[in-house]
């Protein structure tokens, strides 16, 4: 090779280096915008007694850029745990997977469901202490996947509504989900249901009307759109039913039923007690039970950790898990002696709260007492925490010796 050619090639190579640097500087911010790894607060390596050790081949995979493949393989592994009922092993895996690839929607949804529902005691009662981590996990899912309705809907419906019974927050998240581009019709109908749960009956009626119009318009536009037809028919039926109920329940406050609510707790043995009481309510009405440390505070979401406090005791039987009323009486035995880890009872004082919330009651019960307990009365335990809501609530303070 001639010397001049050689020098020319060297000059060309050197001249191209700044172009490489410039291109890389242009590519960097664009790559950071879509690549996984952003917006995840931390990778927590332990939940309960299950440390997460990422096998070396997985670590190698993630280092050289195959994060999604590793995440997929870990999810396959998690699925095996799911089928074998080993839920505790799944949770740390889901955390690792969403760190590797924060766009795994189903992993967020399933992980949060496991946290909130599947850490159970020997009576299949979910560990209430995991509800806050479940909510935090899905909130992270929302942050990492803006515009995806499924995650927002699960946060509102599966966690805040069904589990935490916080219908205002549920309404917020379900409404957000329903506004997303990928929202499905049932999400819009759930807004109406949750207006009802939150005691906002006029808003619920307006939402049903919107759903009826939406379904009708879509179906007229495309008569083959059976989802739109279904949306129209279901919404119309529910709107009609709601309007009838509004008339029927209009003057319940003038003929209130005295619930005669009373509740007792009786110790049967160490960590074994029985709850019993009376409630003049239709059969099937549910009495919520919460037994918490007297100094119990809801976890601070800002200083969130996956490690639940092993010293905290929280027993929750709420919503569909509440104690059912039959023939004006309710009764349930609690044997917590087999679940010392879940219910450590390490504090000196406890608060046992028994509540009947008319807003979570079934329609046939509400037909007698109203959406918010307008037709409900009680001499001793009527509780009106917010204007318009009339609950029944008895609080019993217990000492440690009353339980152990």
């Amino acid at each position: 090779m001639k010397r001049s050619t050689r020098i020319t090639l060297i000059i060309i190579a050197l001249a191209l280096v700044p172009a490489i640097v410039k291109l890389q500087a242009t590519i960097d911010p664009q790559r950071a915008q879509f690549q996984p790894g952003k917006g995840v607060s931390s990778v927590v390596t332990q939940v309960g007694n299950n440390p997460v050790v990422l096998p070396s081949q997985f670590v190698a995979g993630t280092i050289i850029g195959f994060r999604e493949v590793v995440a997929g393989l870990l999810w396959v592994r998690a699925n095996d745990f799911f089928h074998s009922g080993n839920y505790e092993a799944i949770v740390p895996l889901t955390r690792t997977i969403t760190w590797l690839d924060p766009h795994q929607i189903e992993v967020y949804r399933t992980g949060a469901w496991h946290l909130a529902y599947n850490f159970v005691d020997s009576s299949a009662r979910a560990d209430y202490r995991y509800l806050a981590p479940a909510i935090k996990f899905l909130e992270e899912g929302v942050d990492n996947n803006p515009g995806v309705s499924d995650v927002e809907f699960d946060l509102g419906y599966v966690l805040y509504s069904l589990k935490a019974q916080d219908f205002d927050k549920a309404l917020y998240w379900i409404s957000r989900a329903a506004e997303e581009k990928d929202a499905m019709y049932p999400m819009k109908r759930q807004i109406a249901h949750h207006y009802e749960r939150a005691g906002r009956i006029d808003d619920a009626v307006r939402q049903w009307e919107r759903c009826v119009e939406e379904g009708r318009a879509a179906f007229r536009k495309n008569p083959q759109d059976f989802k739109a037809e279904d949306h129209f028919l279901v919404s119309k039926r529910n709107l009609d039913m709601m309007l009838i109920r509004r008339v029927m329940r209009a003057d319940l406050s003038k003929r209130r039923i005295d619930a005669g609510f009373e509740a007792h707790v009786k110790r049967l043995g160490p960590r074994i007690f029985q709850i019993s009481g009376t409630a003049n309510l239709p059969d099937g009405a549910k009495i919520d039970l919460m037994l918490l440390d007297a100094d119990y505070r809801e976890p601070d979401m800002e200083s969130f950790t996956w490690q639940v406090d092993p010293n905290v005791t929280a027993v929750a039987d709420i919503g569909i898990h509440g104690i059912y009323v039959e023939n004006g009486r309710f009764e349930r035995k609690y044997d917590l002696s087999k679940d010392v880890k879940q219910y450590p009872f390490k504090k000196d004082r406890y608060v046992l709260t028994l509540t009947f919330n008319p807003r979570t009651a079934a329609d046939y019960i509400q037909d007698g007492i109203g959406w918010s307990g307008e037709g409900l009365a009680d001499q001793r335990y009527l509780d009106t925490p917010t204007p318009g809501l009339r609950k029944l609530r008895k609080v019993i303070y217990l000492d440690r010796k009353d339980i152990l």
Binding site: M1, L16, V21, L23, F34, G65, E68, V76, D101
Partner: protein, 258 residues
């Protein structure tokens, strides 16, 4: 013309290499087996099949590119065929470029086969709806391997295959840690010399991480802003970088005693 003849010969030799065929067969089997994860929800299933498929193609392609690249020149020297070739009216740069082009054609054929199986699997699982957007990912994988081959080519003109394997692999790993090197080159609490060192690593080592676009491809919710520009920039980056590496390879090879 000479370059094309050498490329064709290189391609023929490469296609006869058992180890490359084994990589290809294993990759094809893995792509096909990925559909066995059929017990998830529809969305999860597609996510896993797509991520597995793109991942397997990228990994298999990487092995094929490295194994092919590290043997390009040393194998000719070892078999002494290079002396026969260079005794003919073939310039050294033509020999190198022909070898490089041959390896690229081999990679292209392997990628095409894997892509065909992959797309067929995705189409089958996606209710017979083909997802041609995945081809963008394959394009990025090809240019990543194009860059990787040129790295292997440079080392192959002055090192043994074993040393070359480790050198090329090391460059690949460092180049895949783009997020880390970028963060370290910008860390304000770091010593300026250390920062400068990481700056050099980040901007002068080929950044293979640029070509990892699997995430937006497997998750429809994730989008690349100015997608066409991003892909174009990466392709230009790969071509320019490979050009620089090939010039270095030619310059070194020209001065090598044989």
């Amino acid at each position: 013309m000479t370059i094309l003849v050498i490329a064709k010969t290189t391609l023929g030799e490469a296609l006869r290499k058992k180890i490359l065929n084994i990589f290809l067969l294993v990759a094809l089997a893995m792509i096909a087996f990925s559909v066995s994860f059929a017990y998830f929800t529809y969305r999860e299933e597609l996510t896993i099949i797509k991520s597995m498929g793109l991942g397997v193609i990228a990994i298999a392609g990487m092995f094929i590119a490295v194994v092919l690249g590290i043997n390009l020149v040393p194998a000719e020297i070892e078999r002494r065929t290079i002396y026969t070739i260079l005794s003919k009216p073939v310039r050294r740069y033509e020999f190198l470029l022909g070898k490089f082009l041959g390896s690229l054609l081999t990679i292209l054929i392997n990628l095409a086969l894997m892509t065909a199986v992959f797309l067929a699997m995705v189409t089958w699982k996606n209710h017979w709806q083909p997802d041609f957007a995945l081809l963008k990912g394959i394009l990025m994988i090809f240019f990543q391997l194009f860059l990787l081959s040129s790295v292997a080519m440079v080392f192959s003109v002055f090192t043994t295959p074993l040393v070359n394997f480790f050198l090329t692999s090391a460059v690949y790993v460092v180049g895949s840690l783009s997020d880390v090197t970028m963060a370290l080159s910008r860390g304000e609490d770091k010593n300026p010399i250390i920062r400068g060192l990481y700056w050099l690593v980040h901007y002068l080592v080929p950044q293979f991480a640029n070509f990892f676009t699997q995430n937006p491809l497997i998750h429809p919710e994730v989008a690349i802003r100015n997608e066409a520009t991003y892909y174009a920039q990466n392709i230009i980056y790969a071509i320019i970088y490979a050009a620089v590496l090939l010039i270095i390879a030619i310059l070194v090879f020209e001065r090598r005693d044989m």
